[in-house]
Symmetry: C3
């Protein structure tokens, strides 16, 4: 007996579909993302599942923490972010469900949601207990995906509320002057919000002096510059070339204001 | 109030779902394809979104232009192709909506649709104006994806019609004797339609003489040959090996008829 | 006339959506997976399509054969696995449809389903004949995807039954002491089921002695160990590091019990 069962909500702006967004360091390669998607599709049929990042820098919780808040704009209320950078999987590291400014998040709590918590206006947080009998190495599939599916289906979570300050990492700065991601083109994404620095600021990275530009086509080919990328972060780039290659800078490297 | 809202059309061959097909150089890596998919799923709920190419050669509009028409067969009328190879993003480079032989296309107009235009039987073209207030570096997400969603939903476009010859690049040949893509196996896809050359033609590439074969298993292991690939293009290949590695040829290299 | 047409089945555990799972060596790169997905979405509208593996080791049927049965748990009855590692495509190599323990499989028959057949409790097998007029190099798109869509839609197959022993490769061992996949993190997945060896077994690989551990966080950073991975296979790993790099072992290498 075929039955239609897509979950759509009506808002002032029209219909939209609840969505689950994956934000992991699992790699595009291999079975891990697919295995999570299989759980999501079986437990939340008809839900759209989007891979936002599958190639976050492996094990680098801090890099992921500074990227996450930059990629939230435009997602409809109720969107569920399944976030996994989890070098401590299988240990007794804590895990959480977070509701921040209308969006849901689920994942391990070793700093991944630190900048989200510091920047959100309205935020709640619940402890997530690992159920018995699951694998000790793949909580993305066995613990977090089922919770994400439930959040997407129900739009609510019942559990033990915990203080939001348990999400923070007090030692981390508000802006991280480090390359947190290098994209396919060799563009260097940083942990600094462009709105936090002067729009005419000059950067210094690996001995190179970098001036601001509006966008790629504003400068000559192979000229290095920094600009506010489409997600509000400071990005170091080269027009039609690789900033990583031209400047000898890569993921993990630091830079500074001149 | 959950409501089912999938868009299916009835044809003589049965039901089919409108589909949005991504054809970009954004990379499988990183957030870019996912961010476009999020816009598409929010603005065209329930629509299937397929990644045809996410790893077109970066910035190489010409390579993409010769690949595009080869990959259109089999798609149902009304399918929307969201095409982005866009080194000029943020400048005043033009953008277009194209309807060609029943399929929709949207993207920047610096040659990407040149070969499509030259080969289509029925084609119309409209100017696409960049709306104010969007990012200057990610028109795939902010300009083209919303138009693709609208085309998939509505199956129609209202705008300023422009002459189709604005799509062409008059200097470009009908067949491009250049490797336009190297796949995972090291197969070398070219910009030449197999139907344009003699089926017994001999090719010369980097000093190697290449005879035709029907398919991989027609030749001995590690023997190089050319064949008509499953999309009608001349492809240089090696049975159970990498043509790129064996022949020392790669993306961008040229070849000729002997 | 919009019509809703998602295919959901009711079971004791609730509703679920039939699903098609891709298991190929096509690569994340390039158009091949997308072209198969386009066929599936056009011929089985609304069906979820999951990429389990797109980067199986190229041409290595044996590696794929030992991976496949390890990744089946958790999939609902009726799930269709579209399996393509097919160096013999275009030749007269046989192809099959298999039903094993409630799951469907379709693909070439040169060993890919050998371990599935040896381990399944209930299994049936049908010969699949290549239709005329299809490409000689892309049966994933032209032969297997249409059959997968039909299986997902109909949940049944009509054809010529063949003996199950035609799936087997009698020379292959029950456990394969070889690295069959290296993941993004450098973890080394093997063709040995953890349940087949003593839980305290010591392994020897490339001169290294490897003790068992429960999971990554059970050992010190950069210490190599073996463990039962989340799919029941013996995996050689290093906590927060690359086993491939640390041990100098990679895909294809063999190892032994000490």
């Amino acid at each position: 007996m075929p039955v239609a069962c897509m979950i759509l909500l009506f808002t002032g702006n029209g219909y939209y579909l609840h969505m689950i967004v994956l934000f992991t360091d699992f790699g595009m390669e291999g079975p891990y993302v697919g295995q999570m998607q299989a759980v999501l599709h079986q437990q939340a049929p008809g839900m759209a599942v989007i891979k936002l990042f599958s190639d976050l820098p492996p094990f680098d919780i801090q890099a992921a923490a500074y990227l996450l808040p930059a990629y939230l704009s435009g997602f409809a209320p109720g969107t569920v972010f399944l976030c996994v950078v989890d070098p401590g999987v299988g240990s007794d590291r804590p895990a959480v469900v977070v509701r921040a400014d209308g969006l849901w998040f689920v994942g391990p709590n070793e700093g991944l949601f630190a900048m989200l918590a510091r920047r959100a206006e309205n935020i709640e947080c619940w402890q997530l207990t690992t159920p018995a009998g699951v694998s000790s190495s793949f909580h993305g599939r066995d613990v977090f995906a089922p919770v994400a599916a439930q959040l997407a289906r129900d739009g609510a979570y019942t559990g033990k509320a915990i203080p939001v300050n348990l999400l923070d990492q007090p030692d981390w700065p508000d802006e991280l002057f480090r390359v947190v991601y290098t994209d396919r083109f060799g563009n260097l994404v940083t942990g600094v919000r462009a709105s936090s620095i002067d729009k005419n600021a000059i950067l210094e990275a690996n001995g190179h002096v970098l001036k601001p530009a509006r966008t790629f086509s504003s400068v000559a080919s192979i000229e290095a510059f920094w600009y506010e990328n489409a997600n509000g972060l400071v990005e170091i780039a080269v027009n039609q070339g690789s900033a990583a290659g031209v400047l000898g800078i890569n993921y993990g490297d630091t830079f500074s204001l001149l």
